[in-house]
């Protein structure tokens, strides 16, 4: 049996079938939650944002254009929700300890994981417009073109901002002495 396409599930939701929406949640809550977690650096806030995004998506389902992917649509909604949240908060929180997952082999990978953990902290400190690009490119593997489509930015701007974001991240890591510590 093949899985139903997102579009079919959307149409079933529009017909009032909430079980179809449950299926969409199953498919996409993980990436949306992780996006929110990286963006706002707080576990509870990420839960709230994920919930808000899915509820808003449900309310606006009839505005979903079937020409586009459902995931792109909801992901874009999530990015906007996170940016609005950060704008409202206007302060930097530290990462929640639950955010950084445990190493599979702590002894062997200790340094790498420690480094990775610290890099994530530095990502959390980036300005929102750069942070979102690092997340989309490095955590969610979107291409320049896909990022441009989702953020409504020309591909050229995506590249230049992403490259600046990396430089800022590298500087932040260097300032924290992270690179020097781990070498």
């Amino acid at each position: 049996m093949t899985d139903k396409s997102d579009l079919i599930l959307v149409n079933e939701c529009l017909d009032g079938n909430t079980r179809a929406f449950a299926e969409l949640i199953d498919r996409y809550q993980r990436p949306i939650f992780n996006l929110a977690l990286r963006m706002v650096s707080g576990y509870e806030d990420a839960c709230d944002l994920t919930q808000t995004v899915f509820v808003k998506a449900y309310e606006k389902l009839d505005t979903f254009n079937p020409r586009f992917k459902f995931f792109s649509w909801i992901y874009r909604m999530a990015v906007n929700e996170c940016l609005n949240f950060l704008k409202a908060r206007k302060q930097h929180d530290v990462l929640h300890p639950n955010m950084v997952s445990a190493a599979k082999n702590p002894e062997e990978n200790y340094l790498d994981n420690e480094f990775s953990k610290r890099v994530q902290l530095a990502v959390g400190d980036l300005p929102s417009e750069y942070k979102v690009l690092i997340i989309m490119r490095h955590f969610d593997d979107f291409s320049y073109q896909e990022i441009g489509h989702l953020l409504r930015l020309p591909e050229k701007t995506v590249k230049s901002r992403l490259f600046t974001a990396r430089r800022l991240l590298s500087d932040a890591v260097r300032q924290r002495g992270i690179v020097a510590d781990d070498r």
């Binding site: 993980r30 839960c47 709230d48 899915f54 639950n98 690092i134």
Partner: protein, 262 residues
């Protein structure tokens, strides 16, 4: 100081989008520029560290929390529901993780929304619902939507885009309109080839709607998107004619309901 051009090449190499020829050029540059080599090493290491970050599983209860919230939200947006359903929906909705006050606020808003619904029901336009019967969205049909035709217009204070989509026997006219003043939009179709199934709009009910044998006419102001659904009887490629009338000007466009075969 790293040359901007090579800064770009470093980043493109990190992303794996650099062509072999350019890669060679970059490597030559890195051999002779220690600062660039350091940046390259740092960015590569950062990229590898970011790639190692594992996804975090959302809490188990998150899905249920969302599902408890959605039926109430959806019900609240429909004008024809009873107050009882709205109130039950609001009460059943789970409050956010952090904001415990939202339940009480929700009840107050629910009462307010109900008052608005009651007052607006009286103002609803006289819909001809006889033509709206039948299935508008078929699960299997919209799986293969293709754009058949698209046209944009701008006249005076009104502008918009008309997109015709086709999907296995269904034709959808998606009409995006923005107008500062009232405009009249008439959609004419060939009823030999197309059966009008129904329409929906995103937010506001249009001021007036008339549905005839081969015409749908509506008036509206502001920004709105309409979807008109037709069943394609499958005989020939048909056309939809859209006429947009402002107080002193008009635009008319004819759009195909299917792509012409090559």
């Amino acid at each position: 100081m790293i040359d901007e051009k090579y800064f770009q090449l470093i980043n493109e190499d990190i992303d794996g989008t650099l062509e072999p020829k350019q890669r060679l050029k970059l490597q030559e540059y890195l051999h002779t520029h220690a600062e660039a080599q350091t940046l390259y090493d740092d960015l590569l290491r950062l990229s590898q560290a970011l790639a190692q970050v594992e996804k975090v599983e959302p809490p188990m209860e998150l899905k249920q929390a969302i599902l408890r919230e959605v039926p109430a939200k959806k019900l609240a947006s429909r004008k024809d529901l009873s107050i009882l359903q709205s109130i039950i929906g609001s009460l059943a909705a789970k409050v956010n993780f952090k904001y415990a006050y939202s339940l009480s606020a929700g009840i107050i808003i629910g009462i307010f929304v109900f008052a608005l619904v009651i007052s607006s029901v009286k103002d609803l336009p006289p819909w001809d619902i006889s033509k709206l019967a039948g299935s508008i969205f078929l699960d299997s049909v919209l799986d293969s939507v293709q754009i058949a035709d698209q046209k944009k217009f701008a006249i005076g204070n009104a502008e918009g885009t008309v997109t015709i989509e086709y999907a296995r026997g269904a034709v959808i006219a998606e009409i995006d309109l923005t107008s500062r003043n009232a405009i009249e939009v008439t959609i004419s179709f060939d009823n030999q080839n197309l059966d009008f199934e129904g329409m929906r709009q995103l937010s506001h009910v249009p001021k007036t709607v008339e549905i005839g044998e081969s015409k749908v006419r509506l008036t509206q102001t502001g920004e709105e998107r309409y979807y008109l659904y037709f069943r394609d009887k499958g005989r020939n490629i048909s056309t939809l004619k859209i006429h947009v009338q402002t107080s002193d000007n008009y635009w008319e466009g004819t759009l195909l309901t299917r792509q012409r075969p090559n």
